[in-house]
């Protein structure tokens, strides 16, 4: 897993509507709607700075947020990848 770099679609490809604590995303390339809970929106935002592997992504997130349990990043990226919201570089 280490070394895989992930890319998110640009901001223009996703319309986001915040609805009580959750985000509802309309993803233009797929025409699909995803309802996402934290930390998915934060991860997608962090990837807007450019492609990143898991370690780099964690660095970006730690710069903004307090959290523990870094290893869960792989499960979160897996979900986003399966939904087509991130892809491997």
């Amino acid at each position: 897993m280490a070394g895989s770099r992930y890319i998110a679609d640009p901001e223009s490809a996703v319309t986001k509507v915040a609805l009580d604590g959750l985000a509802v995303l309309f993803h233009e390339p797929s025409g699909m709607t995803h309802i996402v809970a934290s930390p998915a929106p934060e991860i997608l935002d962090a990837l807007q700075q450019g492609p990143a592997d898991a370690a780099e992504l964690l660095r970006r997130l730690h710069a903004r947020f307090d959290f523990e349990g870094d290893e869960a990043i792989h499960a979160r990226l897996g979900e986003l990848e399966a939904a087509g919201l991130v892809r491997r570089a």
Binding site: T15, V17, L19, D20, G21, L22, V24, F26, E28, G31, M32, T33, I35
Partner: protein
């Protein structure tokens, strides 16, 4: 096809063809007073036909077909041909409707404000809408609500109301006998009797209304009301819509606007009278 009938219901026109006469006779009686489609042009075609050629005569069974069909559909007995015609029209809407966002919901309106009631089959929305339709509300539809993607208004789709089992008696006490279809005993969904909406509902079937409240009713428990968050309402309405995904971005925008602009409540109710009372309260609060 041997027998045919065209019906205009709200903004949608259907052409129904049948291998037998009886289902269309029953349909024509049930929809007495509805206008004919302009120039005979129709949005959808429904066909009631024998599953195999000999099944037109031998133990006749009605297969529901048309422009759009589903696999897994089992035929109905000819005695239930009216139900087959109704299901055939529902099927075309569920699979083929791409002009409006289709919500599996009953809608009633008063003073231009509409209440949308959605929930699984058996939640009692049909009965509730039928009863409200006799108690000073305008029935816009008991099965499908049509949300206009551009304006956010709801359009009426006042089909005959499909009453099941216990609801049949409730409504027989409310509405004139000549508005009912035949009692269909022992269908796969139990006993069914159709009720034609009242004259006002038919006369105003071209007139939309603004959504004012989204209700998720559930029949069978003690009366309770709770607020439903926007995200939950959004998710539940996508699951109540057969064409949300196919409408793409326009569906997303329309639904997001709906849940952000209109409050949503889940209500449990032990009997229909209680629900009618709750809804009268909501209306007073909305008006206030």
């Amino acid at each position: 096809m041997r027998h045919r009938l065209a019906l205009q219901i709200g903004p949608v026109a259907f052409r129904i063809g049948s291998a037998w006469r009886s289902p269309l006779d029953a349909l024509a009686r049930l929809y007495a007073g509805y206008p004919a489609p302009a120039d005979g042009l129709c949005d959808f075609t429904v066909r009631l036909e024998p599953e195999r050629p000999w099944r037109r005569f031998l133990r006749p069974s009605v297969a529901i077909r048309g422009d759009y069909v589903l696999p897994d559909a089992a035929p109905l007995a000819l005695a239930h041909g009216l139900l087959a015609a109704e299901m055939g029209m529902n099927l075309q809407m569920a699979l083929g409707q791409r002009t409006w966002l289709l919500l599996h919901a009953a809608t009633v309106e008063k003073d231009g404000r509409a209440i949308v009631m959605t929930g699984e089959s058996g939640a009692g929305k049909s009965t509730l809408a039928a009863l409200l339709g006799e108690r000073g509300w305008r029935l816009m539809g008991d099965e499908f609500a049509l949300l206009d993607l551009a304006s956010g208004a709801l359009l009426p789709f006042p089909r005959a109301i499909s009453l099941k089992n216990g609801a049949i008696g409730v409504m027989e006490a409310e509405a004139a006998a000549d508005r009912f279809g035949p009692r269909l005993a022992g269908t796969p969904k139990g006993d069914i009797r159709h009720l034609r909406p009242n004259a006002e509902a038919i006369a105003r079937m071209g007139e939309g209304a603004r959504p004012a409240l989204i209700l998720f009713p559930r029949f069978g428990s003690a009366a309770a009301v709770r607020g439903v968050g926007q995200a939950e309402a959004f998710m539940r309405l996508t699951q109540a819509s057969t064409n949300y995904v196919a409408l793409g971005r326009r569906g997303f925008d329309a639904l997001a606007n709906l849940v952000r602009g209109v409050p949503a409540l889940a209500i449990d109710y032990p009997d229909t009278e209680t629900a009618v009372g709750l809804i009268a309260d909501f209306r007073r609060e909305l008006a206030a």
